[in-house]
Amino acid sequence: MVKRVVVNRRKCAYCGACVAVCDSLALELVETFLEINENCTGCSVCVKVCPMGALSLVEV
């Protein structure tokens, strides 16, 4: 069971907090658009750090 992070763009306030704590460089903030690449390990640190609760883990 592999888990990965997904973003709810309607909640995301594009602040970059998640990018700062991602040890796999799986997240990149392009202007207001958060990109999540395949490096995501599902560690969920970003989920905890997001000020808006915009991130969650899903099974893939």
């Binding site: 907090a17 700062a20 750090v49 808006m52």
Partner: protein
């Protein structure tokens, strides 16, 4: 080929680019956003002193001037720190959208090339120099440079690709949410801080006046201590303190509270501002340190170009300079933060009560710690090594 490429047009990056350009270097300043200064990720407070050292004050980007701070313990005990002499305003609340643009324009005016909507992708070492890969208006692009200054904020890609900084842990970052509110009824001569494990676990809530009845009402929490997200605690804070006002803007952000890093350099590369975790672990303030770091990195870049020496060994001169200027304060305030993080609300209340009503004339962490120690000799040993 450029002498210096600066990544990020915030206060650190623009100050670095300006300093290099003023000394005749070929400078490129890149900013990934299409608009410098927005979206804001900041509570916008800065001491007057920290600002005046590096920038000529322009009313266009000063939203409010304050004479002091009021700190509230969990039980409501109030501590006032204020400069009571009229005309001695000690702090500013900035309009970052205008301030950041102003600094970038100063860099451009000094001769730096500025490119917006241009993101740093990666770098490659090629002998003595670096090849910097970028995405410029959506197209791949690369330039060569002698020096790369990473001023790319808390999420620094430059710093992590260069292996200079470690990724922040949940206990090393404040997760922040803030509303700009209108019709807030406060005495606009003060900034307001609210502490407590229930109100803001591992951080604090703030109200910073922005003039004309507006204020930044925000909160920072430590994700390792908090059960919910920052917005949840912010909404609860506003409800609990019955803060009336209309929300006219939402701002989110993250502040490194790591303390002092060992080094902010590697061969050809220097980091400045939040990218080097230069923000204060107690106050979260980062603009003044970013300005200083940008200036110092710029100065050392100029020397490196003159001496044709871009080695980490040579660039360590920058480490010495920023550590002597404010690094020691990050180190001290990290220890103070660790002490406060261990206190429960009743301990915070009793410390606050011990100094409530005292006349604290200076708005600084040091002033408040000295006052606490005067009235709580039993904890003096804990701070002995720190102060």
């Amino acid at each position: 080929m450029f002498d210096v490429v600066v990544v990020g047009a915030g206060p650190a990056g623009s100050m670095a680019a300006k300093t290099c350009a003023e000394n005749g270097l070929e400078v490129l300043l890149i900013e990934k956003r299409q608009e410098i200064g927005t979206p804001v990720r900041c509570a916008e407070g800065i001491s007057k002193q920290g600002l005046k050292r590096f920038v000529e004050i322009d009313k266009k980007w000063i939203a409010a001037e304050v004479i002091g701070a009021k700190i509230y313990a969990p039980d409501g005990t109030e501590i006032t720190m204020a400069e009571e002499m009229a005309g001695n305003e000690v702090g500013f609340v900035l309009e970052r959208k205008i301030f950041d643009r102003h600094l970038a324009r100063l860099a451009a005016k000094a001769g730096a090339e500025v490119l917006v909507k241009t993101a740093f992708v990666s770098f490659e070492r090629q002998g003595e120099k670096l090849k910097v890969k970028m995405r410029r208006m959506g197209e791949d692009w690369e330039v060569e440079t002698k020096i790369l200054i990473g001023a790319d904020g808390v999420e620094s890609r430059v710093g992590r690709m260069a292996g200079i900084i470690k990724t922040l842990k949940k206990s090393e970052i404040e997760s922040c949410a803030q509303y700009l509110m209108s019709n807030v009824e406060i005495d606009e001569k003060y900034t307001y801080f609210y502490i407590g494990n229930e109100i803001a676990p591992g951080g604090y809530a703030w109200i910073f006046p922005k003039g004309n009845g507006c204020a930044n009402v925000g909160i920072g929490i430590l994700p390792s201590k908090a059960k919910r997200n920052a917005k949840y605690y912010l909404d609860k804070f506003i409800e609990k303190f019955d803060i009336k006002g209309k929300i006219v803007e939402l701002v989110c952000g993250a502040v490194p509270v790591y303390g002092e890093i060992d080094t902010a350099v590697s061969d050809n590369i220097m980091l400045a501002g939040d990218a080097a975790y230069h923000s204060d672990p107690i106050t979260g303030g980062g603009i003044a340190n970013a300005l200083s770091a940008g200036y110092l990195a710029g100065k050392v870049a100029c020397e490196a170009v003159e001496k044709k020496n871009f080695s980490a060994e040579f660039l360590r001169k920058y480490d010495e300079l920023w550590k002597a200027d404010f690094g020691w304060k990050l180190r001290r305030n990290k220890k103070i933060q660790e002490f406060f993080l261990k206190l429960d609300d009743s301990a915070l209340n009793s410390l606050a009560r011990s100094i409530a009503g005292r006349n604290i004339r200076e708005m600084s962490v040091q002033a408040i710690i000295i006052e606490i120690l005067k009235n709580n000799p039993q904890i003096a040993s804990i701070f002995k090594e720190v102060l």
